[in-house]
Point group: C2
Chain length 157, copies 2
């Protein structure tokens, strides 16, 4: 791979949350986490608390370089579901293990955000915070059959 494709970023904060057991990982949707934004960026949070929902963009830092090479997966590891490309799933196993999660913003106090629904481990480096936008409320979106099966089981894609 050409070196011109290399992109260097720096984390702007870190996730602080209680370690979860394998069983509890299913409960991300309701779990509360904190995001500690590095103090030099505190000013960049002004006005954020007026939003009820924000995107957290983070690095899934536990994904190994070997796991980044995987190009197709069974969604949520369920072999009864079709093998699809990682770009068609939200699997952490992907060339750039960037996490994108829309969370409920509970509070902003100084440089600490408290959020509900963040599926990131303690110590996860945070890359960016963005507010949710009206335009992301897509009522007419279409999904493949396997997404509907997972939704029936209340599992994320």
């Amino acid at each position: 791979m050409s070196s011109s494709r290399v992109i260097t970023l720096k984390s702007i904060g870190v996730v602080r949350t209680k370690p979860k057991s394998k069983h509890e990982e299913e409960k991300w949707k309701t779990s509360v986490s904190k995001i500690l934004i590095y103090e030099e960026f505190t000013e960049a949070l002004k006005g954020l608390s007026d939003f009820s929902h924000i995107y957290v963009i983070f690095l899934m830092h536990r994904v190994s370089s070997e796991q980044r090479k995987l190009l197709q997966v069974h969604p949520r590891g369920e072999e009864s579901l079709p093998l699809v490309g990682v770009f068609a799933t939200r699997s952490p196993l992907r060339p750039n293990p960037i996490g994108l999660t829309l969370v409920e913003l509970i509070s902003v106090k100084g440089n600490v955000l408290t959020v509900r629904g963040l599926d990131a481990f303690d110590g996860t480096p945070v890359l960016d915070i963005k507010p949710y936008s009206f335009s992301e409320m897509v009522k007419e979106a279409k999904f493949p059959e396997w997404v509907k099966i997972l939704q029936g089981k209340e599992k994320a894609i």
Copy 2:
């Protein structure tokens, strides 16, 4: 800033679109672009065409290191709107100039995606592609007053 905060990623593709004049940049929402995924990742696109909407995560590569230092902006440069933190806006000026745009997926042909609504220039490095999820359809989201003012003018936040 500590060097331990450095994160290295590699682009997985590039945006191909007609150069736009300043005036035309307002028309992103309807403009059609192509995303050329590097061939080694073509397999990772399997099943993507079953989704009508996808997120494109990209690097806003024209943002200078000086512009990355800006922590507060007037949304869309409108000085009549309040000065808010960059994390409370979708401004390209931010510590990590990562772009996140939900687009309509028109087609997938081999390693080429055709999409509608991508606000990225020709040559933009693409970091990740993710499908839209049911859970991102947040009907009860709350927004600050300035977002509603911009929405009235049909401008993105």
